[in-house]
């Protein structure tokens, strides 16, 4: 083998290689040598004699001699030559093997040698079948008949051409002398036996998908060629490399961890259904099983990926996160997965939905990712594609893995689950029982039903809106009894502008914002949403549907801010229950769900001490100027979470002057 290409086979596209073809051709040429090649004899037919027939035993003997191999290998080699189509048998033309006796073979003409550059066309096959039809007066073999009909159906537009060409070729063939005509017909038949094998014949030319480039051709050194080599080597350099000791260590660790879980390597606990026909294992381990088995629970401790991959584990984790009030992370991660693997038509809506729910400033289930990632993601969302949320997703994944996963494993939720896990007992069946099982085999549940169940589950999950704390900025800690209605955005239309503007304060002390008012109507929310006010640029307001009230609210708010008054009266109007709360201190107070936020309006600047970034315009999509620098605004903002909160300076009734 010559070292022609030291970089190696850098074309996955070159496969499948049939490098044997060029080598076989060389062997064929050697066989032709009149002195040292294979002896040929004439073939005697009824009237004529056709030269150049070779006996099988001669071929085998020659191969043995030439390559110094034993008879069996020579036979195998010879059969390979026949099955590739370089030599064809004269008798039993469908059996492509070499018989080491006096049966005759002949060499195939180079036109009919197998190549990979030019694919074998159905058109040619159709022409051949048509010619055969003419010759045999319409009596074709069964598989040929089927192929004929098939081609007639699928290549109907070329059928005229096929018929014309067949007739012409037939007539042209008759111009040759008789023996040559015979030989030609044999050759053509042999060619098509190799390339369109009759049922039951195995042809070596069945190599799978076609490739566009000949693996054996010498590539001309164009600039394109060199560019490809350069890219390939650059990528090879950039590939991350791992020390073999590290890699081997990881492999060993993997094997030892997973060995007991592998049903091939260790016994599966109730019993292996394939062996005993008893499906307990599968029913216990169904995706929707209420109580998982011990092995399954153990698998969740192996890695975070395992936990997430198992739907039951994911459910458990979701429960845990709900208790910890950080289930938006998992929801975001799931949303990203959904986006990645979903259909292309729903991609845009999904991306928007995720943005509205998780990423936008003031989103109900705001996730905590760093500013840089957020910027990048938000920029990329202008042109959403499948992987647009990848960076954010990895960030959240790492967050969950490093922080929450460890806590989950140590949490009472998990411990409880481990205790409850089923420990199936090994079933030892007697022979009679095995027979009984075999008789009672049932088909597995229909995939349609399974899919429906899955969809129902998902719908149920979506409908039961998980309650979690949202709008916690970096500085807050979750307060367990603070339940905020996060408002699962099942109906995005209900929230006209879910990206709520936030007014941040100088963070004197952070405070949880929220007020959970389940009964807040959509309009109320919109009203509250409308306050996104900031000193400075009140001009650009989103004017989405139904925002007239919002703008009114913002105007009033602006006025309020300018006036700088403390709208304690507003408080009074807003909070029928706790009037006295108006004057309470600015400290954070745990707020029960049915009370409005009571932060005293001591100073507008410290009203809601939440540092959250908001765009001056409460837009949903980051279409226009996203590049706001937060620093300029942090000084003069008051953070409000609109949907949940009844902002103190906004009233449910537009009483502070709408005009």
């Amino acid at each position: 083998m010559t070292i022609r290409n030291p970089i190696g086979d850098h074309g996955q596209r070159y496969r499948p290689r049939m490098a044997c073809l060029k080598k076989a051709e060389k062997v064929l040429l050697e066989m032709q040598d009149p002195k040292s090649g294979v002896k040929s004899q004439p073939q005697r037919l009824v009237i004529t004699t056709i030269p150049h027939a070779i006996a099988g035993e001669d071929i085998v003997a020659w191969l043995e001699e030439r390559f110094q191999i034993d008879a069996q290998e020579a036979r195998a080699f010879g059969s390979m030559l026949v099955s590739l189509g370089y030599i064809y048998p004269l008798i039993h033309h469908k059996r492509l093997v070499i018989k080491p006796d006096a049966s005759l073979y002949r060499f195939q003409t180079p036109y009919f040698w197998p190549t990979q550059q030019l694919p074998v066309e159905d058109t040619d096959y159709a022409i051949y079948l048509a010619k055969r039809n003419i010759r045999k007066k319409g009596i074709l073999e069964l598989h040929e008949q089927e192929q004929y009909n098939r081609i007639h159906k699928w290549m109907n537009h070329k059928w005229d051409f096929i018929v014309m060409q067949a007739k012409e070729q037939y007539r042209a063939a008759k111009e040759r002398k008789k023996p040559d005509r015979v030989v030609f017909e044999c050759q053509e038949r042999a060619y098509w036996v190799v390339h369109r094998p009759p049922p039951g014949t195995v042809s070596s030319m069945d190599y799978g998908l076609e490739r566009r480039v000949d693996p054996n051709s010498v590539e001309t050194k164009t600039p394109d060629f060199y560019e490809r080599i350069m890219i390939f080597t650059q990528q090879s350099i950039m590939r991350p490399r791992v020390k073999s000791s590290v890699a081997l260590g990881a492999l060993v660790k993997y094997c030892t961890t997973y060995q007991s879980h592998d049903p091939f390597l260790s016994t599966v606990l109730p019993s292996n259904p394939w062996l005993t026909d008893d499906v307990t294992l599968w029913t216990l381990n169904m995706l929707t099983a209420e109580i998982p088995t011990r092995m399954r629970v153990e698998k969740w401790t192996f890695s975070f990926g395992e936990l997430l991959a198992d739907p039951r584990g994911r459910d458990d984790f979701r429960l845990f996160l709900k208790k910890e009030f950080s289930s938006e992370n998992l929801a975001f991660w799931e949303g990203c997965e959904d986006l990645k693997w979903g259909t292309a038509s729903t991609m845009k809506e999904k991306a928007e939905h995720i943005y509205k729910t998780f990423l936008a400033r003031g989103a109900p289930r705001w996730i905590n990712i760093d500013g840089k990632t957020r910027e990048i993601t938000v920029m990329a969302l202008r042109h959403p594609h499948r992987y647009v949320l990848d960076a954010a997703q990895s960030h959240i994944y790492m967050l969950m893995k490093k922080d929450k996963y460890g806590r989950y494993i140590k949490s009472p939720v998990f411990k409880d689950m481990s205790k409850r896990a089923i420990d199936p007992v090994e079933q030892n069946f007697t022979d009679a029982q095995l027979e009984h099982n075999a008789r009672n085999r049932r088909p597995c549940p229909s995939p349609i039903i399974l899919q429906k169940q899955e969809e129902e589950r998902k719908a149920k999950l979506a409908a039961s809106a998980p309650v979690d704390i949202t709008q916690l900025c970096r500085f807050t800690t979750p307060v367990p009894h603070l339940a905020v209605y996060s408002g699962i955005i099942d109906s995005p239309s209900a929230t006209a502008s879910p990206s709520l503007p936030f007014l941040t304060h100088t963070p004197a002390c952070p405070s949880p914002i929220s007020v959970a008012l389940d009964s807040t109507s959509a309009s109320e929310r919109r009203v509250e949403a409308g306050e996104g006010e900031r000193e400075g640029n009140p001009e650009t307001r989103p004017l989405s549907g139904g925002n007239v009230s919002k703008s009114r609210m913002t105007l009033s708010l602006r006025r309020l801010l300018k006036r700088g008054c403390t709208p304690s009266t507003m408080f009074a109007s807003l909070s029928p229950k706790c009037h006295s709360a108006a004057g309470t201190s600015s400290r954070i107070q745990p707020i029960s769900p049915d009370q409005p936020s009571q932060a005293p309006p001591r100073r507008f600047g410290n009203f809601f001490q939440i540092r959250v970034d908001i765009p001056p315009e409460c837009r949903i999509y980051p279409i226009e100027s996203e590049d706001e620098d937060e620093e300029n605004r942090s000084a003069s903002r008051a953070g409000v979470e609109a949907k949940e909160i009844i902002c103190p300076w906004e009233s449910l009734t537009p009483q502070n002057g709408t005009g």
Binding site: Q43, I134, K137, K158, E168, V183
Partner: protein, 247 residues
């Protein structure tokens, strides 16, 4: 009319393509020779001329917007015929280049594949060129010199095919063939008769070949027998009439 011209030209191209294929099949085998190379070259040239002529004619016909729908369908059908011929020609030319390079003629030890074909292909070439006898006047290094020409011609043909696909807006799959399945059996039965039953193809088919031959011959015999019978009946009728009249 344009259509008839087109059809005759397409028939000619078809014939030349078929003959070219036969010639290329003989390449590299023991029936290869100087003459064969020359035949290939001439046939190829003729095919190209025909192709260019066909193309100009058909494109001009197809560009004409004033033709009726049936006419247009017919021209599209002819166009599909033409482009399929060109595809075949292109493939055959590429193959002949390859094989020609692998089997040069003017080397001291030449190894042509012993395929069993020993006759010459003169008659095929004569059919292609539509002449009675082929005259050979090429020089001895035709096999190598021709290959360069062949390469350029292949690129030309490839370009032409690509151009055709780009410029002419014909959807090939929309064309409906006029012939139905088995149409090749209908005409040229005369061709079928003379070919059948003379020789066995390969040893395993002697019986069916001769059976086929017998039946082929016999398809003529009943016809003749019927004809003769009718003639006899007619003569008998006439004689009977005369007899009756006479008597």
């Amino acid at each position: 009319m344009g259509k008839e011209e087109c059809k005759t030209m397409l028939d000619a191209l078809n014939k030349v393509t078929a003959c070219y294929r036969h010639l290329v099949i003989a390449l590299g085998s023991t029936s290869d020779s100087q003459n064969l190379r020359e035949e290939l070259k001439r046939t190829r040239k003729k095919a190209q001329e025909l192709a260019v002529a066909n193309r100009t004619k058909l494109t001009s016909l197809l560009k004409d917007k004033t033709i009726s729908k049936e006419d247009r369908a017919e021209y599209e059908r002819l166009w599909v015929l033409f482009s399929s011929s060109m595809d075949l020609l292109e493939v055959d030319m590429k193959r002949s280049l390859e094989i020609g390079q692998d089997f040069p003629l003017k080397v001291p030890t030449r190894h042509l594949i012993q395929t069993g074909m020993t006759g010459s292909t003169t008659t095929v070439a004569a059919r292609a060129m539509s002449v009675q006898n082929m005259k050979y006047e090429a020089d001895s290094n035709i096999d190598t010199a021709d290959l360069r020409d062949l390469q350029t011609e292949i690129t030309q043909v490839t370009q032409m095919v690509e151009e055709m696909e780009m410029k002419v807006q014909v959807a090939p799959w929309a064309v409906e063939a006029k012939q139905e399945a088995g149409a090749e059996l209908k005409s040229n039965m005369s061709v079928g008769n003379s070919s059948v039953g003379v020789i066995s193809m390969c040893e395993e088919e002697p019986k069916e070949e001769e059976g086929g031959g017998g039946s082929g011959g016999s398809s003529l015999a009943p016809v003749c027998a019927v004809f003769v019978f009718l003639v006899i009946i007619m003569v008998a009728a006439v004689l009977g009439y005369l007899v009756i009249n006479m008597s």
